[in-house]
């Protein structure tokens, strides 16, 4: 809502006050001030003068010599304009006046006669485009005839303050100057000047007939004005409309717009002769067309509502825009001013669909006051009588079910319950009365809600009004002490995972939850892979964001590719986030996944040899996660589409596959814009963070270990992991650790065979192990490996 403060001053008598104080007052009421600044005239030293005599210039044909009363005396001024005679009140730039930035007026001789200043046009004063003649003030500039000798700037509204206030959608009543005046008056304790329009009515000879056939138009009011003459609106009206962001059109359209800004309710003027004597409201016919005021032909659907003339021809889209066929034009002499109520959701949908969002539709879609339509029409008529020379005709009103004001019983205890403070009967009553609620009773209060306030329905809505008037700042704060119970286990576990992953050098990424189908193609997922069956976004912003992700890999791959493009290749990233999979339920399954990606080289320190990342770096990360979360994970060889067939494994917990780790096929990596080995892993998070029992400490043994190495020759296809498994099962509780430290083939090892070397540590909790104990343990371990893996012991240390 944009307006100059002078407009607001017509409704409340604001004392001289700092602009910042007004901003704060509006803000404390919930009306955010987007902009506020001073408006100053583009001139100084211009005063109001009265032309008392006009005579020809003895030496010039195109100018005249004027005697102008400027209050302090009569000045002789030469003027080249011919649009005035004696009796005109005019703006006079006296010597010393400054127009624009630097045009200083001085006494000047014109063909032998000294001109003591200049009578000015709109254009010269920066007030408008009109440069054809000087400004004749008189009746178009109220107050000018009493202002001879005074500052002309005041006549055209300077200085002034400009405000742009954003109105929340629950307050359609504040989309008007009077609405904001009521609010500001309530805050500053200033009474509202609430005047009603005054009309001398001459009833229509031929009355209008009105027929409403759609209950989405609960009230239809009209008033006719005859004998108007269409022309330009007075300057003050055009100025206010312009400041309000509306383009002045003519004195009829301007009057309607002016009243909408002033009082809030939109109206529309039809040319009576073009409209005829009948007017109706009905549901639109599917496919029906209407040429609207903006000269576009609109095709309507059955949910729209139209105003029609006597032959059922649409003349307006109800509440949204008038039709071209009944538009007020230069020769219009009689108008019908419509001021109606329209069903808000209908206005919202129709205006959005037609892309015809206007000041009027914005008001109707939020809800106007059904009991204000007649005042609106009358106020427009009043302006037309005053500024278009018309005579008010008859009023018409179809209002089958008048809306009664709502009455709310308000127990004062609600104030304490919701706000935490007490406001007594007289304080509460005073606050509400300032906002034009009528209040009776002590406790509960009986509150009558003005019908312009659709937002106030229940006692809690009155709590808000009391809080606003009392001031949010005046309500003391108190810090809650909750009983919520702290961080849940899943978040504690997830934070631990994040800490481990970052300690391992990975950076956390957050990527969008939607991807494109092409991202799944890049991964070369199998045709029957369920991740291919991604859920479509109905209205995606971009095709690349057309489906919900079923895997974190595309986001991670794109993150790394973007960083490669920026010159960073030795990277590790991880992400924890949801994927979206079809399920039987009302919503998709949305499990959290953990994904990671590694690229480039590691260990390239001075004097050290850099090596490419490979799948074992990925396995290492999974092992560390497994340790941290105390989950027994195993990696099993696997072949998956898109992965290096010899460097891919499934991650298994208790026989259940929870994810994959591996290197991308080089061709897949290349298609994704990545070079070199790309290690990726993706796991379902839930099995990892499943709440484990609190860990019970195992006291460390104070006895020495027995450490020895074993090397076995076995088949090349034997997996090291299975040898370790065998050793673990064969060894007793004294096995402290077993680790593989070498895998070798070549000289000394048979064809198709490999050597796997392991280091074991045995230690007892309660004694030093003796040679006689260790020997049989070693023997049973060796026998288990030899028999289980077609192996032979190569050596032992």
């Amino acid at each position: 809502m944009k307006f100059p403060l002078s407009w607001l001053r017509e409704f409340i008598d604001i004392p001289d006050i700092e602009i910042a104080d007004i901003v704060e007052a509006f803000e404390s009421l919930g009306h955010e001030v987007e902009e506020a600044y001073e408006l100053n005239a583009a001139f100084s030293g211009v005063i109001v003068g009265k032309v008392v005599q006009v005579a020809p210039h003895p030496n010039a044909d195109k100018v005249r010599v004027c005697q102008v009363d400027i209050g302090s005396g009569v000045s002789e001024i030469i003027c080249g304009a011919w649009n005035f005679e004696a009796g005109a009140y005019v703006p006079v730039a006296v010597p010393g006046a400054v127009l624009g930035d630097d045009f200083t007026i001085t006494q000047r001789e014109i063909r032998g006669i000294v001109s003591n200043g200049m009578i000015c046009s709109e254009a010269e004063l920066g007030l408008g485009d009109d440069a054809d003649g000087i400004m004749v003030l008189n009746d178009d500039y109220p107050g000018s005839t009493d202002a001879v000798g005074t500052d002309f700037a005041a006549i055209v509204g300077y200085p002034d303050l400009y405000f742009d206030i954003s109105i929340t959608p629950n307050r359609p009543d504040c989309m008007s100057v009077v609405g904001l005046a009521r609010e500001l008056g309530a805050r500053l304790d200033l009474p509202l000047v609430d005047r009603m329009p005054e009309l001398d009515v001459v009833e229509d000879a031929v009355p209008l007939t009105i027929s409403i056939q759609d209950d989405r138009c609960p009230r239809f009011t009209a008033r006719t004005v005859r004998g108007i003459s269409v022309g330009e609106s007075p300057h003050w009206m055009r100025r206010r409309l312009s400041l309000a962001g509306m383009r002045p059109i003519n004195n009829v359209v301007d009057a309607s717009n002016y009243v909408m800004m002033e009082l809030g309710h939109p109206s529309h003027a039809f040319d009576r002769l073009r409209l005829g004597d009948s007017i109706g409201v009905r549901r639109a016919v599917e496919g029906e067309t209407i040429a609207t005021l903006d000269d576009l032909v609109r095709t309507l659907v059955a949910d729209d509502i139209v105003v029609v003339d006597g032959v059922d021809r649409p003349v307006s889209i109800g509440g949204i825009m008038g039709g071209a066929s009944t538009e007020v034009h230069a020769e219009s002499v009689e108008v019908v001013i419509e001021s109606a109520m329209w069903f808000p959701p209908m206005i919202l949908h129709s205006s959005k669909r037609l892309q015809l969002r206007s000041e009027a539709s914005a008001r109707f879609e939020r809800g106007m006051d059904p009991n204000f339509t007649m005042t609106t029409a009358d106020r427009v008529a009043e302006l037309l009588v005053a500024h278009a020379g018309g005579t008010a005709g008859s009023a018409y009103d179809v209002y089958p079910s008048p809306v009664e004001p709502l009455v709310i019983e308000y127990p004062l205890s609600e104030t304490r319950r919701i706000l935490g403070i007490d406001l007594d009967t007289s304080t509460s009553t005073a606050y509400l009365e300032k906002l034009d609620f009528s209040v009776t009773g002590d406790d509960p209060l009986r509150v009558v809600v003005p019908t312009r306030r659709p937002d106030v329905q229940r006692p809690v809505d009155l709590v808000e009004e009391l809080a606003r008037l009392h001031g949010f700042a005046s309500i003391p704060g108190r810090v809650v002490s909750g009983t919520g119970g702290g961080l849940p286990a899943d978040i504690i576990a997830e934070r631990k995972l994040r800490r481990v992953l970052t300690a391992l050098g990975l950076n956390e990424a957050m990527t969008f939850a939607f991807i494109g189908h092409q991202d799944l193609d890049v991964l070369r997922l199998a045709e029957n892979d369920p991740r291919r069956d991604a859920i479509d976004v109905v209205n995606p912003l971009r095709d690349e964001e057309g489906v919900m992700r079923t895997t974190l890999l595309p986001g991670l791959i794109k993150t790394v590719a973007a960083n490669h493009a920026r010159g960073f290749v030795d990277l590790g990233y991880f992400e924890i986030g949801k994927v979206f999979l079809r399920s039987g339920g009302a919503l998709p399954a949305q499990p959290d996944h953990l994904g990671f990606i590694l690229t480039g080289e590691r260990g390239g320190d001075i004097g050290g040899e850099a090596r490419s990342v490979d799948v074992r770096d990925g396995v290492g990360i999974i092992e560390r996660l497994s340790e941290t979360m105390r989950v027994g994970l195993a990696i099993e060889p696997a072949v998956e589409s898109g992965f290096h067939p010899g460097r891919c494994g499934q991650v298994v917990i208790d026989g259940q596959v929870i994810g994959t780790v591996g290197e991308l096929r080089p061709s897949v990596a290349a298609a994704a814009g990545l070079k070199g080995r790309v290690v990726i892993g993706e796991l379902a998070l839930a099995p990892l963070v499943a709440a484990a029992d609190p860990w019970t400490l195992v006291p460390p043994s104070s006895y020495p270990p027995v450490v020895f190495d074993l090397a076995f020759e076995t088949g090349a296809d034997v997996r090291a992991g299975s040898v370790v498994q065998t050793i673990r099962s064969a060894a007793g509780p004294e096995l402290e650790s077993v680790s593989i430290f070498d895998v070798y083939s070549g000289t000394g090892i048979g064809e198709g065979r490999i050597s796997i070397a392991v280091r074991l540590s045995l230690r007892a909790a309660d004694r030093t192990l003796t040679e006689s104990e260790v020997t049989p343990m070693r023997k049973s371990i060796v026998e288990a490996v030899e028999s289980g893996h077609d192996a032979t012991l190569r050596g032992s240390v």
């Binding site: 929340t168 108190r478 050098g505 949801k578």
Partner: protein, 335 residues
């Protein structure tokens, strides 16, 4: 020469010999000469039995004093020579101390996650717990349960991203705020409720310096038998002071949200200007009714804040996209 004279001479000459030893070998030779088996000290000890018993004690003390003194000099010299020898050896092992340090890289938590965790921790310390909910959500929980009317413009496809899923007449969508969890949490838990809900939210806004189709919010909800607007103010002001600094000033400005009444925005004074920090309000009784709470028994406050916005305010980020692109150079600044 008298034993005493010999010892006196030795104690005068030996220190210079010890000090002159510049290698361990020279020092060993000197030690042998001064205190070894053939040294005057050893000779004196051997002689002691032959001395007049009257003087034996005096001479014995003299021998011991000279021997101890000289041995101390020798040991001190040995320490000096050993240290010099080690220092000489280490010269070959020197390294340019201005070379970069060696060690594994530490990764970084995403700045948004750090801010989320920090917000959560502030509220957990005030007695809140944490819950999370679905990102693909029903229209019912996202709008209807929160008292957002069927006709509200935010339901339109110009504002909300919908997905093609299931047969829900109202539609399945990407939640536009974390507020649906207010309703879900209250349906699943009896009062009192003190919970914060972090998570991703979605809007139909193309990516630009101040908008993103995906961003993060933290929602908060406190419902009890005695929660007032004063609790909302005090609690959120404490949050602002913890998050932005203890001298942070805040103000509460009336606002409008369908799911709270009264509603407010909290603004904070930061870097010389007032900035909108979050939206909040007292839970609308209609929301309580929708989840089966009795609004005549319980009251509550709710709030929602944009995590990216808070991160931008605190870290001077001028373009939202810096927080979304996972640029190595950006993330590494928040290790």
């Amino acid at each position: 020469m008298d034993i005493r004279e010999e010892l006196q001479a030795l104690s005068e000459s030996a220190p210079a010999r010890i000090a002159a030893a510049s290698t361990m070998e020279e020092l060993a030779a000197a030690e042998s000469d001064i205190t070894g088996k053939k040294s005057p000290v050893a000779a004196a000890r051997r002689m002691l039995g032959k001395i007049d018993p009257d003087q034996r004690r005096e001479v014995g003390i003299l021998i011991k004093r000279v021997a101890v003194s000289l041995q101390r000099d020798i040991d001190a010299r040995r320490s000096v020579l050993l240290l010099a020898e080690e220092t000489a050896d280490l010269a070959a092992d020197a390294i340019d101390i201005t070379l970069p340090g060696r060690g594994q890289t530490v990764g970084t938590h995403h700045i948004i996650q750090q801010v989320v965790d920090e917000i959560i921790d502030i509220f957990v310390a005030l007695g809140f717990t944490v819950a999370r909910g679905p990102e693909v959500e029903t229209s019912f929980y996202n709008f209807t349960a929160l008292n957002i009317p069927d006709t509200h413009p935010s339901r339109l496809e110009t504002d909300t991203l919908y997905v093609d899923y299931g047969d829900d007449d109202e539609g399945v969508l990407l939640r536009t705020h974390t507020s649906p969890m207010q309703a879900r949490y209250m349906e699943q838990n009896d009062p009192p409720v003190y919970v914060v809900v972090p998570g991703k939210v979605f809007r139909s806004d193309p990516l630009d310096p101040t908008h993103s189709p995906v961003f993060h919010q933290v929602e908060g909800l406190a419902v009890d038998t005695d929660i007032t607007f004063g609790d909302l103010k005090g609690t959120l002001e404490m949050f602002a002071k913890q998050f932005l600094g203890k001298d942070t000033e805040v103000k509460f400005i009336p606002h409008y949200f369908p799911f709270t009444e009264p509603s407010a925005e909290m603004h904070a004074y930061s870097n010389g200007r007032w900035l909108e920090l979050l939206g909040c309000g007292m839970v609308n009784p209609a929301v309580f009714e929708n989840v089966g709470y009795d609004p005549s028994v319980v009251t509550g406050f709710a709030f929602g804040m944009g995590v990216e916005r808070l991160a931008m305010v605190r870290h001077g980020v001028t373009d939202l996209r810096y927080l979304l692109e996972n640029d190595f150079r950006v993330l590494r600044q928040f290790v």
